[in-house]
């Protein structure tokens, strides 16, 4: 079972000084543990200033996954990396609201570009 699932890893993409984590599908406990471990390790190795978690591929956010994400964001914060969540779909946003999960402490953005802009990544045009 572990062997079969060990290839299932969430990719962590480094973009400038940010780490982008596109979450997808169902996140099991093992996967969540591995993800938290990997991301924190990458923050340490790469000196990343921030973490952007993209939820576009997540169809359901239950309180367990919210807890995993808030733990990850808190731990990343302790290491000096700020976290932004992005890509939440309308249904997920509405259900979180009904569930009473307080995300006010978490910074969120609509799309990946907005999230990166929030983290201080700027697009320089040629004129500049």
């Amino acid at each position: 079972m572990t062997l079969q699932r060990s290839h299932e890893r969430v990719p962590i993409i480094q973009l400038f000084d940010q780490l982008v984590v596109p979450l997808q599908g169902d996140i099991t406990d093992d996967l969540a543990d591995a993800l938290t471990q990997d991301v924190l390790e990458r923050i340490r190795r790469s000196d990343a200033a921030g973490l952007v978690i993209d939820l576009t591929g997540v169809w359901m956010l239950d309180s367990h996954l919210c807890h995993v994400l808030s733990n990850l964001a808190t731990a990343a914060g302790l290491m000096g990396a700020s976290t932004v969540l992005c890509g939440m779909n309308p249904d997920t946003a509405l259900t979180l609201q009904t569930m009473g999960i307080d995300m006010r402490l978490t910074r969120t953005a609509l799309r990946l570009e907005n999230a990166l802009a929030m983290q201080g990544v700027r697009l320089l045009t040629e004129a500049e």
Partner: protein, 153 residues
């Protein structure tokens, strides 16, 4: 019947729910909400009950029409205070201290979410067995009290 012994079983329960909900023609939003209900109940079975099982079935009530029934069974410790457990940020002993939030492995919002996403919730404990049943109808009954009901209270 779906055995809940590991976190992969929760995925199986969620998938079974999705198939069942689509089968009775539930809209996407309802499927999402009920998946969360299954997920929260299954996590409770796993975390507090040390494993157990769930039963998912479609129902056709003469009065209320088509719906889904989600039942979770486990043999864990009983819920001490149901009213408290239903509140967000509370567990069955009262408010959750924010400083212990990271350690306890949950936000305390699970059962409250279950209650809001369903139309009927019942909890029975007997002889070390615990049973939580949640029912959701496709046409949700109005949550507003009827005028005559208000007069009576």
């Amino acid at each position: 019947m779906i055995r809940i012994c590991a976190d992969v079983d929760i995925l199986a329960a969620r998938n079974a729910l999705r198939a069942l909900a689509l089968d009775i023609g539930a809209p996407p939003r309802t499927v999402l909400e009920l998946s969360i209900v299954v997920s929260e109940l299954a996590w409770n079975v796993l975390k507090h009950g040390g494993g157990g099982h769930m039963v998912l079935e479609s129902i056709d009530d003469l009065e209320r029409g088509i719906g889904l029934r989600i039942v979770a069974f486990d043999e864990g410790p009983p819920i001490r205070d149901l009213v408290s457990a239903l509140r967000d940020g509370f567990d069955d002993c009262g408010p959750i201290d924010p400083s212990t939030l990271l350690r306890r492995g949950g936000l305390g919002g699970g059962l409250g979410a279950v209650a809001r996403f369903t139309d009927a919730l019942s909890y029975v404990q007997h002889d070390g067995h615990k049973r939580i049943e949640a029912v959701r109808y496709l046409r949700r009954p109005s949550s507003r009290p009827r005028p005559d009901a208000r007069k009576a209270s």
